[in-house]
């Protein structure tokens, strides 16, 4: 069989019965391989006290067993996590059909094996043929013992190699008598029961047949792979009809065997009849899926027609149906399903499966209603009694025929509300009462005269017909109502999904809606992704290493899975499979987690606290929930793609900013360097040809440019220091007017321009760092002078404003476009297109903001301030 990519191999030692020596053989081979240097570890081996087997374990590495605490009882179990951590090349794990102790991750050992294989570990295991799912009925028939622990057929089919351990039954019996298999007392019992020679021969034949089938399949696979024309029949297809009756599972197993024999695909069909009280087909459908069948559900009132339509649509050649237990009248009239199909399905091979034994049969699931059964039966006499009451009230005024109509109403009401059985009972009871109380002669059940007889017969017929029809109608209505509820919810959900919303709102909606449909607490879990941490963008599709799931939405908000459930959630997330309550994995926890699969992997999980429900979800709601989750996954994917696009836009903008920054930085470093280098080189190479004035100017150029470079360097250092948050503060009460005067005068002196001062002399003395304050003001003044142009007017103002001191610097330059106003304090930002006019580092305002903030101040900008021109930068300090 085709191995799955990256999966470890599976080798199965298959035996016909216990004691044939599977474990012994497996250990012998393991020993040999271990001596050859293979990394082989024994996960778990039961020696059943057999000395020969125990001897083979010696010398092999054995994994310690895990200890589980179950209701105060210490249980030993195979340590799955230990095995995964140890990661041997080959793991030997006996007893494939074993059921794990409660509290283990998987209920079944074969699921452990799947996980080990998924992790790339080769697994060797052993099992007896009677544990194979599809054989369990046959085994039960032959041996009279029903095997509880079964292994789905696909597990054995998926094995890379199957080794049949075969000894003749006589030899096995001899071994048993020698006490090599069981202890003497057990052996005696076993020899009389299960280990009869006939049983053993049958089981042996099954094992041999299975292995032969496998060889056959291998050969077929080989021939197909190598395009060898072969004798396999083309186009055979088997369909099994699955109803709610218990015999459905038998039919499914049988169909699997037929399909295997024909090497044909298997389809399991369930016809849902809205008006019929069918049982729950869920178990049989699930069984069909485990057996590798495709399942399909169609809705139709006419069972044979639905079967034939579905079968023809799928080119089915073989139909498998259970014989079922049709009512007598149907059998007598030839209207049983099998008879109808025999007549109509002339183009199919029809297989009729035997009826299940009476003991195995159980009552089909009762129709689900909102009130208990006794209410219905109590209502029947109540309704008839009410009709009688009305009858007495009307007795003298109307004919007895009209009174019959009153009873008719009671019968119809009973059948509509409770079903046909109730309706018929009410009809019978009504007829008796009517006859006894109102039809002449009264107080007898005899009927006089032809008129009364006709009336009575018509009443009986009408009541029965109406009861049946109305009952069916009632069921159809209820079923349709459930469907309409589901559809309405889905439509509502998709309508709300259509509205644009962010991811948080979407998740809340999903949790809400899932909770409403399931009728129990729900939550949405998502991984804690690095994408939400700024600056730590994970590549798309990469999952965080540890599956840190966090609750993103819950309905009600207090719904929160416990720790054990969270373990199930992590499992569901990493494996992308439903996990928890009601599933195959970790079914002991109270939550069920459904993955939301998207093209980029599992986007998240929807957790539902099913354990709160007293009864399982009805199929209608289950389907609605599934559809909802599908829609949710799509919506989530769409939301993620949109967010990804938005993030992409942000990244592009950041990239553009980075390029601007680099260009500015390059320009600001290169220009002074060019000046310095050119001036010095001119002086060196041609200084003697120059006039003394020209030489002096060159030296001055070099000096000025050096100063500019130094200023730039110190600006960058300031910026780095501010960004690292390391600004030492030396606060002292400041005389603001004189500090402002100092700064303004120095700037005026350096630039040769005048700055207007509007300073309130009664300013308080705030506690600030004078050096930093001076730096802020100088930067703002420099900036204003630069942007206002050579002839521009610059003014500085200071005043008290409530609890703050406001210091503003304004210019009458061209102003700043509204869109840029927020960004002028960003490092290296320059008002657009002016970067060449004003040589500056673009750091002045960024530094001013950083310093102001370091002292607990705020800085803002306004532009334009008058006549569409000018910029005002305002610094606020607490007074």
């Amino acid at each position: 069989m085709a191995a799955r990519e990256g999966w470890g191999r599976l080798k199965v030692f298959l035996g016909a019965a216990p004691g044939v020596g599977k474990t012994y053989e497996m250990l012998t081979v393991a020993r040999r391989r271990a001596l050859g240097g293979a990394d082989i570890v024994i996960g778990l081996v039961e020696t059943h006290g057999r000395a020969e087997t125990a001897a083979q374990v010696a010398g092999l590495e054995v994994l310690p067993r895990a200890r589980l605490d179950y209701r105060g009882q210490a249980l030993e179990e195979f340590d799955l996590d230990g095995a995964l951590a140890r990661r041997p090349a080959i793991l030997v794990l006996d007893e494939l059909p074993h059921s794990n102790a409660p509290g283990s991750r998987h209920p079944k050992r074969w699921q452990d094996v799947e996980e080990l294989r998924a992790a790339g570990i080769e697994v060797w295991t052993a099992m007896n043929v009677q544990h194979l799912e599809s054989l369990s009925d046959a085994v039960a028939r032959i041996t009279g013992v029903r095997v509880a622990e079964t292994v789905p057929d696909h597990v054995l089919a998926g094995a890379d190699s199957v080794e049949l351990i075969d000894i003749p039954p006589a030899e096995l019996l001899e071994r048993m008598r020698q006490g090599k298999v069981y202890r003497a007392d057990q052996a005696e019992r076993a020899l009389r029961g299960f280990f009869r020679e006939g049983n053993l021969a049958a089981l042996r034949e099954m094992a041999l047949r299975r292995t032969a089938d496998r060889v056959d399949a291998d050969v077929t696979g080989y021939m197909r792979a190598n395009a060898i024309a072969g004798p396999w029949p083309a186009g055979d297809r088997v369909m099994v009809l699955v109803g709610g009756e218990p015999s459905a599972e038998v039919a499914v197993r049988q169909a699997r065997r037929i399909a295997d024999a024909l090497r044909a695909p298997l389809v399991a069909l369930h016809v849902e009849r809205p008006a019929a009280a069918d049982g729950d087909p869920g178990p049989a459908l699930r069984l069909a899926e485990t057996l590798g069948a495709e399942t399909e559900t169609v809705v139709d009132t006419d069972l044979p027609r639905a079967i034939l339509v579905a079968a023809r649509a799928r080119n089915v050649t073989n139909l498998v149906i259970g014989r079922g237990r049709p009512p007598l009248w149907r059998r007598l009239t030839g209207r049983t399903l099998s008879a109808t199909l025999l007549r109509q399905a002339s183009d199919f091979t029809l297989h009729l499966m035997p009826s299940p034994t009476a003991a195995a049969r159980q009552q089909a699931g009762p129709e689900r209603r909102s009130f208990p059964r006794w209410v219905g039966w109590a209502s029947v006499p109540a309704l008839v009694l009410a009709a009688t009451g009305i009858g007495y009230a009307l007795d003298s005024r109307v004919t007895e025929g009209s009174l019959g109509m009153v009873y008719l109403v009671a019968s119809v009401a009973a059948s509509v509300a409770f079903g046909p059985a109730h309706g018929v009972s009410a009809a019978v009871l009504s007829f008796l009462c009517w006859n006894f109380l109102f039809i002449e002669p009264r107080y007898t059940l005899t009927i006089d005269g032809p008129q009364e007889i006709v009336g009575a017969v018509v009443f009986g017929l009408v009541a029965l017909l109406l009861a049946g029809t109305a009952g069916r109608l009632g069921r159809t209505v209820r079923s349709a109502q459930a469907r309409v509820f589901g559809l309405r919810r889905l439509v509502e959900f998709s309508r709300r999904l259509g509205a644009p919303m962010d991811r948080a709102a979407l998740l809340a909606l999903i949790a809400d809606e899932a909770g409403r449909i399931a009728g129990c607490p729900c939550c949405v879990l998502m991984p804690l992704s690095g994408e939400e941490v700024p600056g730590l963008a994970l590549p798309r599709g990469r999952r965080p290493d540890d599956t840190d799931l966090i609750i993103r939405a819950a309905s009600p908000t207090s719904a929160e899975p416990d720790d054990a459930s969270m373990a199930a959630a992590r499992w569901a997330y990493t494996k992308g499979r439903p996990t928890g309550w009601g599933t195959d994995t970790l079914p002991a926890v109270s939550w069920c987690f459904q993955p939301l699969p998207t093209a980029q992997g599992v986007a998240g999980l929807v957790g539902i606290r099913f354990a709160d429900r007293s009864e399982p979800l009805d199929p209608e709601r289950e389907r609605t929930l599934d559809a909802l989750l599908d829609q949710a996954a799509i919506a989530l994917e769409r939301a993620e793609l949109m967010e990804e696009r938005a993030r992409g836009a942000v990244r592009a903008e950041a990239e553009a900013l980075r390029i601007t920054l680099l260009t500015s930085l390059g320009h600001d470093l290169r220009t002074p360097l060019t000046g310095i280098r050119g001036s010095l080189e001119t002086l060196r190479t041609m200084g003697d040809m120059l006039s003394p004035e020209a030489r002096a100017d060159l030296i001055l150029t070099a000096e000025e440019e050096t100063a500019r470079l130094a200023r730039f360097a110190s600006n960058i250092l300031d910026m780095v220091r501010l960004e690292s948050g390391r600004v030492p503060l030396r606060r002292e009460p400041m005389d603001l007017p004189s500090a402002i005067d100092d700064a303004v005068e120095r700037v005026e002196h350096a630039t040769g321009r005048l700055v207007e001062r509007r300073i309130d002399p009664r300013l308080p003395s705030p506690s600030l760092d004078p050096v930093l304050f001076d730096q802020i003001l100088t930067n703002l003044l420099d900036n204003a002078l630069k942007f206002s142009g050579a002839a521009g007017q610059v003014a500085v103002a200071a005043r008290r404003d409530g609890a703050n001191i406001l210091i503003s610097v304004e210019d009458d330059g061209p102003g700043i476009p509204r869109g840029d106003l927020m960004r002028i304090f960003d490092p290296f930002f320059r008002a657009s297109r002016t970067d060449r006019i004003t040589a500056g580092s673009g750091l002045g305002l960024a530094i001013a903001r950083g310093l102001a903030r370091a002292m607990g101040g705020q800085i803002t900008a306004e532009s334009p301030i008058r006549a569409g021109r000018g910029t005002r930068i305002i610094v606020r300090f607490p007074a």
């Binding site: 001036s679 001119t682 040809m689 060159l698 150029t701």
Partner: protein
Amino acid sequence: MSSPLADLSPPRILVVDDEPQIHRFLTPALAASGYEPIQAENASAGLRLAATHAPAAILLDLGLPDLDGQQVIPRLRAFTAAPIIVLSARDEECAKVTALDAGADDFVEKPFALAELLARLRAALRRAAAHGQEAPTPLVRVGPLEMDLAARKATIGGTLLKLTPREWDLLAALARAGAGRVVTQRQLLSAVWGPGHAESSQYLRVYVGHLRQKLGDAASLIRTEPGVGYRLGPAE
């Protein structure tokens, strides 16, 4: 440093740059080297002065306040054949290539060495003078390499070079541009392989490799301008 033209006045050099400190040292340096420098602070002044003063060569900064330097070059080329040397930044390969493709003759990187700028200027003026002559000689001599463009023959130190037609075309394209003049990859590819192959720079690397192998000791005559193109000539 006299011009080969009959005009005996010093060659006029137009410097277009918005940074005053560049003018402050270039003006005395150019004057001391025997040129007549004229200054322009922006593109419009530069275009006006180029039109009215007929400079022998133009030094052009690409980052101008009023007009992108890239747009200035075609406007200059509309009326003057004077060599244009672009003053560019080191990390602006794209800008260099665009400028060269638009018609600039050469580039120097800021912060540049004055000596290098003057050498490039001299070479550019020389080439311009050579192109100005009536009949361009079919003979090109660059160091030990001699090429007869008419006879499609190249010798090195008197030995005949065996070149494939493509190799010859490539070497000739470099030679025709003039010794020391940078030719962009795009220009070379269009000239040798045709305009359809203007982006196939891998051809160029392969053929330049072959040529250098055949040139032997004189391999360094083909100089690579990383990210821009190639120029033919001995190291300056």
